[in-house]
């Protein structure tokens, strides 16, 4: 299976993602933001970081990069596109998933492990996972998911919430919400569920001795699902 990770000026999780994808059997290619065409890929990843120094609004400049037209076309034709952290911000700014990510409620940069609960498994990302709650890492200043009431209704009606922040045993209460995110939302899909944006970093959870292995489960399963 072939994947492509886009590097924007200021991306800093692109190589971590490259390592993770290769580790679990993808043949990954790094793609520069100023390229016009994506290589033939089964999965495209927009990585975390601080593209364009987070100027104007996080992800807003990167969403207008040359390569993004190709990414948008790929997504619109059903291709799998995953945005992690800053990649999620780029997805919302490009209109591929609804809403926006605001500054964290308490104005702190948050860097810690959190638990997230999978809400919808009827998609290539989470299908066949036999676990509901995952421990993943977050590191962001703008992860406070927000959308209009009309968008929220549509998101709920179409079952577009991918993951919620929760406790270690899956309770999705406000006290387990690290950043003020609407309804504890940590990640969402587009309507068709081929585009996934999420704040937590699965690529940081792929080594038992360094962190945890919940990210490994995610990548292994993803590869099997799209094989």
């Amino acid at each position: 299976m072939k994947s492509a990770v886009i590097t924007f000026p200021g991306s800093n999780c692109d190589r971590d993602m490259h390592v993770a994808l290769n580790k679990f059997g993808f043949k990954n290619k790094m793609v520069w933001h100023n390229d016009n065409e994506l290589p033939k890929s089964d999965l495209v990843v927009l990585p975390g970081g601080f593209s364009y120094g987070d100027y104007l609004r996080c992800g807003s400049m990167a969403s207008k990069s040359k390569i993004m037209q190709s990414v948008i076309n790929f997504a619109k034709s059903g291709g799998l596109v995953m945005g992690i952290c800053n990649g999620f911000q780029i997805l919302v700014e490009s209109g591929l998933v609804p809403g926006i990510l605001l500054r964290n409620k308490y104005l702190e940069f948050i860097c810690k492990n959190v638990f997230v609960k999978i809400n919808n498994k009827d998609n290539p990302y989470f299908k066949n996972l036999d676990k509901e709650v995952f421990e993943l890492h977050i590191a962001h200043n703008e992860g406070n998911y927000f959308c209009t009431n009309d968008q929220l209704k549509e998101i709920v009606d179409n079952n577009q919430v991918a993951i919620y922040y929760c406790s270690d045993n899956g309770k999705t209460e406000e006290k387990f919400n690290p950043n003020g995110s609407l309804k504890n939302i940590a990640g969402i899909f587009n309507k068709e569920k081929n585009v996934l944006g999420m704040m937590p970093h699965p690529e940081r959870m792929i080594d038992k001795s360094l962190s945890g292995e919940d990210g490994s489960l995610f990548f292994k399963n993803l590869l099997n699902n799209i094989k």
């Binding site: 609004r57 926006i100 605001l102 003020g180």
Partner: protein
């Protein structure tokens, strides 16, 4: 023409920075503040001599990049 635009958060969007500024002002002795909302200001010099056309160009910029209409409103405040 020089076009000035301001971008403000919509009414129902939380503005934690504005809140902290309000608290700081309060601590400094400015006790008569009801609320503080923080926004952005742009001055854009466009190669266009017709004010209406210049305004249209900047409005398009606001719609496409400068503002995110999910959370923000924009207003052209001056053309000179």
């Amino acid at each position: 023409m020089k076009v000035s635009a301001i971008i403000t958060l919509k009414k129902d969007v939380l503005d934690p920075q504005g809140k902290v500024i309000h608290q700081t002002l309060d601590g400094m002795g400015f006790k008569d503040v009801n609320e503080v909302r923080q926004g952005k200001y742009f001055e854009i010099d466009v190669k266009e001599n017709d004010p209406q056309k210049a305004q249209k160009i900047v409005e398009e910029m606001c719609n496409k990049l400068l503002a995110n209409l999910v959370i923000e409103n924009y207003k052209i405040i001056e053309i000179q």
